[in-house]
């Protein structure tokens, strides 16, 4: 599964880690993030994320 980077602040969403602090279990693909999920660091929404090559 691909990692995605927040273009606003540089936070990396790693599907293997998920985002447990926000209730997103490890193994959750970026495309499957819940509605309303935002960057846990700076609050940017998913439209500001880009895939990490």
């Amino acid at each position: 599964m691909q990692k995605y980077e927040c273009t606003l602040c540089g936070y990396i969403y790693d599907p293997e880690q998920g985002d447990p602090d926000s209730g997103v279990a490890p193994g959750t693909a970026f495309a499957d993030l819940p509605e309303g999920w935002v960057c846990p660091l700076c609050g940017a929404d998913t439209s500001l994320f880009e895939v990490v090559e």
Binding site: L8, C9, G10, Y11, D21, L41, C42
Partner: protein, 381 residues
Amino acid sequence: MAAVQIKENIYWVGAVDWDVREFHGYKVPYGTSYNAYLVIDEKITLIDSVKAKFTQDMLDNISEIVDPSKIDLIISNHVEPDHSGALASVVALAPNAPVVCTANGKKGLGIYYSPDWNYQVVKTGDTLSLGKYTLSFVATPMVHWPDNMVTYLAEENILFSNDAFGQHHATEGRFDDDVGADTCLKRARDYYANIVLPFGMQVQNALKALGGLNIDIIAPSHGVMWRDADTIAALLKKYDDWSGNRVQDDLAVIVYDTMWGSTEMLAQRISRNFEDQGIKAVLIDLRRYHISQAMDALTEAKYICVGSPTLNRGPMPSIAGFLCYLKGLAPKGRIGMAFGSHGWSGEATGYIEDALTQCRFELQEKMVCVYRPEKQPTREG
């Protein structure tokens, strides 16, 4: 001369603000400084500026060394007005000088000032030769804004760190050894707790990115420059500990307000319970202390207890304000507890527990009483 020489051809040209007492909700009882730096080389270079009202002080300091219109290069590490506030004046005097910043910096400066400046966007790893000296840049997004970067001058091992490693105090001396390591580290912690705390992950990333560099001097944008080797080592360790969420298991902070003294009595009881277990307890009465002082106190505390009586079916506004501030600054890995006395309804402690849960603290059972603690049994421990 008001400008201060750091190394041959490298100067502090900023301004000391003896009078400022608050920074967007953060109380700064000791004032602060806005640190701008001038490098005299083939390219005369200004690194950051000052809050707008101190523009003339900075220009006067620069003029002691060189005519400001001769500035060839402007480095903007951060968009926030306490550092960019005089940039427009410098650009007006030296309109051909490129303004070097991150992509987010160009966006931010474009909104605050003008999108038409001669921007030169840099990213991590880019370098610029000034002649004898070389600058390299490391983007540090969200330490503490999206636009932040730091600038390293290799030949003298100086890290121009902008807000990172900053401290809010106005001082006569410009260096850590002028003021004393203990005081400077205390001020650094207060700054970290109120400004940098939410961004632990980004600070860790920045520390890794800078790990390979020899650093003899850290020159931040507020407070003293760090040049004592032992103090720098202590400071870097502190930043690593704070950003790595390493706290003291034997420290508790108890923040409260009180109407008739009952919640205060509970606070004191909780404090004694902690002390009985060998845990040092610090009491913060919000009638006397500001929420920013509470944050400094809890930087390294494992236990954070928050107490409020119930006023009109909610917490006292002081505590509601503190909880709002605490949630935003987001300390990690703490154990929380709510407490409070109440009369006929008792919504405050539930409100506090909700807030501490949103902070993702592990919660201990709350302590409550009706009107007077000594009139009924309460949970011990």
